[in-house]
């Protein structure tokens, strides 16, 4: 346990709501990430993944429990500037359309993460380096985010996080907002970056097949708790917890039988089937 980059111990996150009972989003989760390791965190919407991610990244303080980053306790983000040591912990957000300011050039936003002020003449070189790292046109620095597609913006957001030379990246559903093709590309990019730069990654997703492709180790979260954890392949081949089995069964498959993943009911009752067929025909026409 000594060489972990990130250690979460017994994290509890409770969201207080005015005029309602408090919601316990995360109930005592312990998780750790080793350098160069990709840990996947899967679970359905509302199971506390994002709450955990925000705590793991230091955006919010946990209600109780401790977060240690590179051996030192992680200070939650306050009004003060974030300490330099903590900046090696970065986050990639879910929505690529919200993670870049629409009013600043790409170059200006990428340079936010520079640990010390970069002399003027080296700035464009640094921007090109970061853009190349994520497979974008190195000359794109003078453009604005609105000139990029969703997948490209997610690459930019990743480049922005990389500017701080992170040792760990928390990726909170980084491909959920993207189509299957772009998301595959982004996953591939993250995978190669992890290998190239030797950083750790906490990859959060609701998509078990994606996590299987990228993570060395997978943790399954359900209702605020981690119910199963193990090497990805093993978890995939021999799931022990019933919820994991449900998750695996819920992966959409293209087959001859019409059914919605995750629902056991047989949907092929005549009226529904006709409506479904009509919809498919309409879509393909």
């Amino acid at each position: 346990m000594t060489a972990k980059v990130l250690e979460l111990e017994d994290i509890v996150v409770t969201h207080r709501r005015s005029g309602g009972p408090a919601v316990q989003a995360v109930r005592g989760v312990s998780l750790s990430v080793a350098p160069g390791q990709v840990v996947g965190l899967v679970g359905e919407s509302g199971c506390g993944k994002s709450s955990l991610a925000r705590v793991a990244c230091g955006i919010h303080a946990p209600t109780s429990g401790s977060v240690r980053f590179e051996g030192a306790p992680l200070e939650p983000l306050r009004m003060r500037q974030r300490p330099a040591a903590d900046r090696k912990l970065q986050m990639v957000f879910q929505n690529p359309y919200a993670s870049l300011s629409p009013r600043r050039t790409i170059a200006s936003q990428l340079l936010d993460g520079a640990s010390e002020p970069i002399p003027r003449e080296q700035r464009s070189a640094e921007v090109s380096r970061l853009l190349e790292l994520v497979g974008l046109d190195p000359a794109a620095g003078s453009r604005y985010p609105s000139q990029f597609s969703g997948g490209q913006r997610q690459r930019l957001a990743i480049a922005r996080a990389l500017a701080a030379k992170p040792s760990l990246v928390v990726a909170d559903e980084p491909v959920t907002a993207l189509d299957a093709f772009s998301s595959a590309q982004i996953v591939q990019l993250l995978q190669s970056l992890v290998r190239e730069l030797g950083m750790g990654m906490l990859f959060i997703s609701h998509d078990l097949s994606l996590v299987r492709a990228i993570a060395d180790e997978t943790a399954v979260m359900y209702a605020g708790e981690i119910v199963e954890r193990g090497p990805s392949e093993q978890l995939w081949e021999q799931p022990t917890h019933p919820y994991t089995k449900t998750l695996i069964a819920a992966i959409p498959e293209i087959g001859p039988v019409k059914k919605l993943p995750g629902l056991d009911e047989d949907l092929t009752e005549p009226a529904a089937a006709d409506a479904g067929a009509a919809a498919t025909n309409g879509a393909s026409a």
Partner: protein, 302 residues
């Protein structure tokens, strides 16, 4: 949060400006912005600005001197007639724009500055700062704007500076509310959080990410408020709480004529001046608002 009556006022005003976040500065070159009404109102504003700028050369007479008989109806020599001291109404009207326009700009700029700083602090820091600032704003918004402005101006004594001060005091809360609400949402945006995670200091984060992305609605509103400022300034000076006589101010000129409406030209022309410029600013503000609001823009043909 309980909804105070003053909240409702601000919200109903604010909600018109909040919809699109901020594409002020986007190009006005295309689309539906250049509709006839917009062009006309822009033309009126430009015309008034030119009149104000070149008043000494455009105005036929000295606005403060007696240049003819008292209370002459409009004629070839005096297009808009003369007032009870024999001063040329047209000249006074043109010189009056030199007071109204710059003062309106000053009022809006100061309110925007004060309201912007308060709203920014309230939205960004939240908690106690927010509570104190917003209750203060409620306090001001609880009174009808013009009545509070009258009270403040009367308390300070009638003068140009005090009238401006009074109007700034009554109008900053509007801007504070609008900016607070947009800062509240912008502050939680992922790009702001990401910037902070990357180590941007608070002040730089505010200047680079928060302000540019939350200023839009307030800027749009200030266009409309320019008209309102002219109107309220005229109202104050109508009541004798604005620039001191014999200064040529539109509100004061209307007051002068209002004692005897038989001499209709004394009041009518300054009234028309106020009407045209206020309407022009309102229409322009609406046009900018429409242009920036993607929903209303899509409703029109592109």
């Amino acid at each position: 949060m309980t909804i105070l009556p003053s909240d409702r006022v601000a919200v109903s005003r604010a909600s018109r400006f909040r919809r699109d976040r901020l594409r002020v500065g986007g190009s006005l070159g295309t689309g539906s912005f250049w509709r006839p009404l917009t062009v006309v109102s822009l033309g009126i504003i430009v015309l008034w600005c030119l009149l104000a700028a070149f008043a000494p050369w455009v105005a036929p007479y000295d606005p403060l001197e007696t240049v003819g008989d008292n209370l002459q109806p409009p004629s070839g020599a005096h297009w808009m007639g003369t007032d009870d001291l024999g001063r040329d109404v047209l000249s006074r009207l043109i010189w009056g724009s030199r007071l109204s326009l710059p003062l309106a700009v000053a009022i809006v700029a100061c309110s925007l500055l004060v309201g912007g700083i308060v709203g920014l602090a309230a939205g960004y820091f939240g908690k106690a700062v927010d509570n104190v600032a917003m209750r203060l704003a409620d306090l001001v918004l609880a009174f009808p704007q013009i009545i509070l402005a009258m009270a403040v101006a009367a308390a300070f004594g009638p003068s140009v500076g005090n009238a401006v001060l009074a109007l700034v005091i009554v109008s900053w809360p509007l801007y504070a509310r609008i900016i607070r609400s947009s800062v509240l949402s912008v502050r939680e945006q992922e790009y702001v959080v990401a910037g902070r995670l990357l180590g941007l200091p608070t002040l730089r984060s505010i200047v680079k990410d928060v302000i540019p992305n939350s200023a839009g609605p307030a800027l749009v509103m200030s266009t409309i408020e320019l008209g309102n400022a002219i109107l309220m300034l005229a109202a104050l000076s109508f009541l004798g709480l604005g620039p001191r006589p014999p200064a040529a101010e539109w509100g004061a000129m209307i007051a002068l004529g209002s004692q005897n409406l038989g001499n209709w030209w004394v009041s009518l022309f300054p009234g028309l001046a106020i009407l045209t410029i206020v309407m022009a600013f309102n229409l322009l503000g609406d046009a900018i608002q429409d242009h920036l609001d993607p929903r209303s823009r899509n409703a029109r043909t592109r």
